[in-house]
Symmetry: C2
């Protein structure tokens, strides 16, 4: 805001100037008091300036409607949508989301600071506020090979950007617990410059929580039980209750919430695929779930407006009140959170499910990048030798959860006890994570249960957090072809059956997102989801996202990286067979 | 905090280092969740580092006790205590107050930036955190003569000080409403440097509130009704519920509070005399009143810990949680808020009503100042001519309230209709406000009802906000002697009867505070309060403080300055008689 606008909003508030817009006789959601009241709302220069009798250049009748602040997604990775911030915002605005705190962690793992800058550039000139947290752990751990390494010196210059709010989810907890110098420097830089630090406290003990809180790590979005919520809140942490495309924790977590502790509870998605966002919504749907749990609608709304705003020091945002930025939603119905229209900075951007703002900068030139830098693979590369071994360490996936289980299987129950072969009857499939950034030749092999492929293979370059190439298949031939086809695609996700690509989506920006329109991406995704039935008829969850999280060595229990099978509970590698 | 301490607290939290202090098995007040739970609390380097099993160099048994954050007075003027910040803090610590947001408005009106610096210097090296707001309106209005004028340029350098939080109570509301350039500059400087702006919304209409909120004025401590509280909270303002030595608003205001809206409610004193502070306490007593009103003790405590901390961006303060500064109180009893001991930065400073920390810097050299710069006055100066007038405009005081009433009295009911003479039967007394900073010769005369002096005169150099000399008497002779004696005293408060000083207190620092010990001040005050009975046998309120606020032209309705009788409702001067 500049001084002229500041003066103008004071003048409009004092009625010395006519307002731009007045919404009359509307029920105002008061997130400060968890209640509502009826009045007129006056707006000038994109800022709310007053309640009461105001004259507006435009006046709207709000009778029987509600005005609620624009929603804030407290933590999300835009890369998970597979589209650009621009395309993401179009879909999000339709659901009343007007701001998001984003962590460009995925693209930073592939492209480093260039990736962060690219996401910032792609976020400009859009009627949606993207706030950035700086990826704290690139690579997430030393147990995987990423495309870039971000040091303290790489992050420091970004703190001067006004839409950079702090340091993103600190997931390398041993580094914090052991006061690793690099990690301490990053924490100290954020703290000493007055920035926020996000946490990542998956499966934390209370001692670990103490350490994070003592390090001024302020938020966590990894709670999965109501008890965990209480322990984090006790320590003054903001709990981001997550309802994403893969991790759906809100129904369980909201049990811990009440009017007594709602103040430090926020709502977030963490990861949202564009098709899921378009069809099922985002934070708007979380609000409906919170209301269903028995909390007041105003409290549900507070959790994704005032609370994240206070937590991240977003000045003048997250409420309907004079001096606040005029990001708001007109609701037809409060209990069902039925959206009539959405305003960003006082401008109508969505009306009756129609996006009015289309004049985005569409001539952005994307950088040309080689996203899949690997050698040609052979069957030998995929060999898992079981000779003289007794037990197989198997990753068991949990549908719609990020956490995996660690199964131990007697090798004698397998048909081939010399070399592992995928077995669709036992649902034991071979999985490979192949380093794709620098052609190091690194490859981790493992066995997973629960994916239930009956034929062919699937592969993707979206594989958290280092985003190496991950392939899972019922036979080595299709796995090798999947690798070749991913290379041709220059990054993306695909399904192979009998040597043929059944469906694919190209993700030409870092192998993570595409510059294409959401509609095209949705078509590709639909095609993928239809085609998956050809090789996995009984699947009832998203196998590509599930696969994407199998390489994340900061989420319990058993994961796989390009360096091998990783036991998160031991924080070390283990053998496939022993 | 420095980086070494930051690392040390992380190490202590992770148990790599032994803690300094562990309080075992204590009930922890959880201000984040408005509840309590039992655990151990570990402290290292003055910071809380964890709950749970910790080893401490010192371990204390907390069984059957409670640990609560140190209290924060959200808004106060130390000058009102009549003592230095050092002496103030000694008394406040005994009542569990460990921090205060102070506005050196009074001394700034007398000494300008030198006064602000003096208060800052006097606040150093004390186990108590004084945070400063920069006086926004010196003089408060153009309707009085102060000892200094503070412009934008005078304030700007102070924003670099780390204990300066923002711009203090903006009381010149016409300047804001009319976008007066000087005022806008001060507001903009605070806003654009990320600082907080305090309000002063006495008797505001909702339109005026809109304007203040649109100007990003964040707080107000002038509510007197529950309805006013709701209107301010709706606009996102923090409501400071005041319970001071003169203005006692909490009992009425707390009716508006509930668990639904407690988040933006803080407790403050605004003005506290040292004797009142010592005897009746401060925010601790406000907590008892809030609990009596039916709110949870934890909610009452939240209002003077977490809430002011969030409001003023006091990092890591206002809660018992890892990473938070170890300012805390051990309570014997929660419902009655009975204090066992008080810790500041992890150090025991109060134990069983005894102050343990005495090693203050006592050799501070106070600047030598001529505080009462006036010529010799004569009876002629005090003359109020009533000839050809019909109605007398009389200030009626309200005991224990800052607001006065405007009485109109028929001159024919007076015994002398030519010149006003104080009349103790009618309780109509002459009052004079004499400019004392620059010997301008300015003098405002008026008539007050309600002070009930039966003999003699009282005088003080503590007269908000310009702190000119204010004298009220039953006869001109004693009023003139009071002026002379105040001059000899170099500032202070006194009682004169039949030409003799009955009692006095010297306030040699700006005519507002003294460098002497609290005990001496209390003795002087006791003497004043005893002696006042000699001239006002029926008085049941503090006449000196009441007098001090009669010259404040920003509080309704009728006030008096060195420039004359001031009608706050018209924001203009009126004649004594018309």
């Amino acid at each position: 805001m500049n001084k002229e606008n500041f003066i103008s909003q004071i003048k409009a508030a004092s009625k010395a100037e006519v307002c731009d817009l007045v919404i009359k006789n509307i029920t105002i959601i008061d997130v400060f008091q968890n209640s509502s009241f009826k009045d007129n709302v006056a707006i000038k220069n994109g800022v709310i300036v007053g309640f009461g009798d105001y004259e507006g250049a435009v006046e709207i009748n709000g009778t029987n409607k509600y005005i609620c602040p624009g929603l804030i997604d407290a933590h999300t990775h835009i890369e998970s949508s597979l589209v650009t911030p621009k395309e993401y915002s179009k879909a999000a605005l339709l659901h009343g989301i007007t701001s998001a705190i984003v962590d460009p962690h995925e693209i930073a793992n592939v492209l480093g600071t260039k990736g962060i800058k690219l996401m910032m550039d792609l976020s400009k000139d859009i009627p949606f506020d993207f706030y950035f947290m700086l990826p704290s752990c690139v690579p997430a751990t030393s147990f995987e090979t990423s495309g870039a390494v971000l040091e303290r010196e790489d992050l420091l210059p970004f703190y001067k950007e006004k839409n950079v709010l702090g340091l993103a989810e600190v997931m390398n907890f041993p580094a914090v617990l052991n006061c690793d110098e690099n990690m301490i420097n990053k924490l100290w830089d954020a703290k000493s410059t007055g920035h926020i630090i996000d946490g990542h406290c998956a499966g934390f003990t209370n001692d670990m929580l103490n350490t994070y809180a003592a390090a001024n790590i302020l938020t966590d979005h990894e709670s999965i039980t109501a008890d965990e919520v209480v322990e984090r809140l006790r320590r003054g942490m903001y709990v981001h209750m997550r309802e994403g495309s893969v991790a759906k924790n809100l129904k369980e977590l909201i049990k811990a919430a009440s009017i007594y502790n709602s103040r430090r509870i926020c709502l977030c998605t963490d990861d949202k695929h564009i098709d899921d966002l378009i069809i099922n919504g985002s934070i708007d749907n979380s609000i409906r779930m919170v209301i269903s749990s028995g909390l007041l609608p105003e409290t549900a709304i507070q959790m994704c407006t005032l609370n994240p705003s206070e937590s991240y020091n977003l000045k003048n945002k997250g409420a309907i009140a004079p001096g606040y930025i005029a990001d708001f939603i007109i609701l037809e119905d409060l209990e069902n959170f039925k959206i009539d229209s959405v305003y960003k900075n006082g401008n109508l951007v969505v009306y009756k499910n129609r996006l009015l703002y289309e004049s985005y900068n569409d001539d952005f030139v994307y950088p040309s990048i080689t996203n899949v830098n690997i050698r040609n693979l052979t069957k030998k590369d995929l060999e898992i030798n079981l000779k003289n071994k007794k037990t197989l360490n198997v990753i068991e996936i949990n549908p719609n959860k990020l956490e995996s289980n660690h199964l131990k299987i007697d090798i004698n129950t397998l048909k081939n006890t010399n070399y592992f072969e995928s077995d669709t009857n036992l649902d034991l499939l071979k999985i490979a994570v192949i380093e794709r950034h620098n052609n190091t030749g690194n490859m981790g092999l493992g066995i997973i249960k629960g994916l239930n492929l009956k034929d062919g293979a699937i592969a993707t370059t979206v594989a958290h957090d280092s985003h190496n190439l991950i392939i899972c298949g019922t036979n080595d031939e299709d796995m090798l072809i999947a690798a070749e086809e991913i290379k041709k695609l220059n990054g993306g996700t695909l399904i192979v059956k009998n040597g043929e690509v059944l469906a694919s989506i190209q993700l030409e920006i870092g192998g993570l997102i595409t510059g294409r329109k959401s509609a095209d991406v949705v078509k590709d995704l639909k095609n993928l989801h239809c085609s998956i039935k050809d090789i996995a008829p009984d699947i009832n969850f998203n196998p590509f996202l599930t696969l994407s999280f199998l390489s994340l060595p900061v989420i319990p229990v058993l994961k796989i990286t390009d360096k091998g099978l990783f036991d998160v509970s031991k924080f070390d590698f283990i053998d496939i067979a022993e």
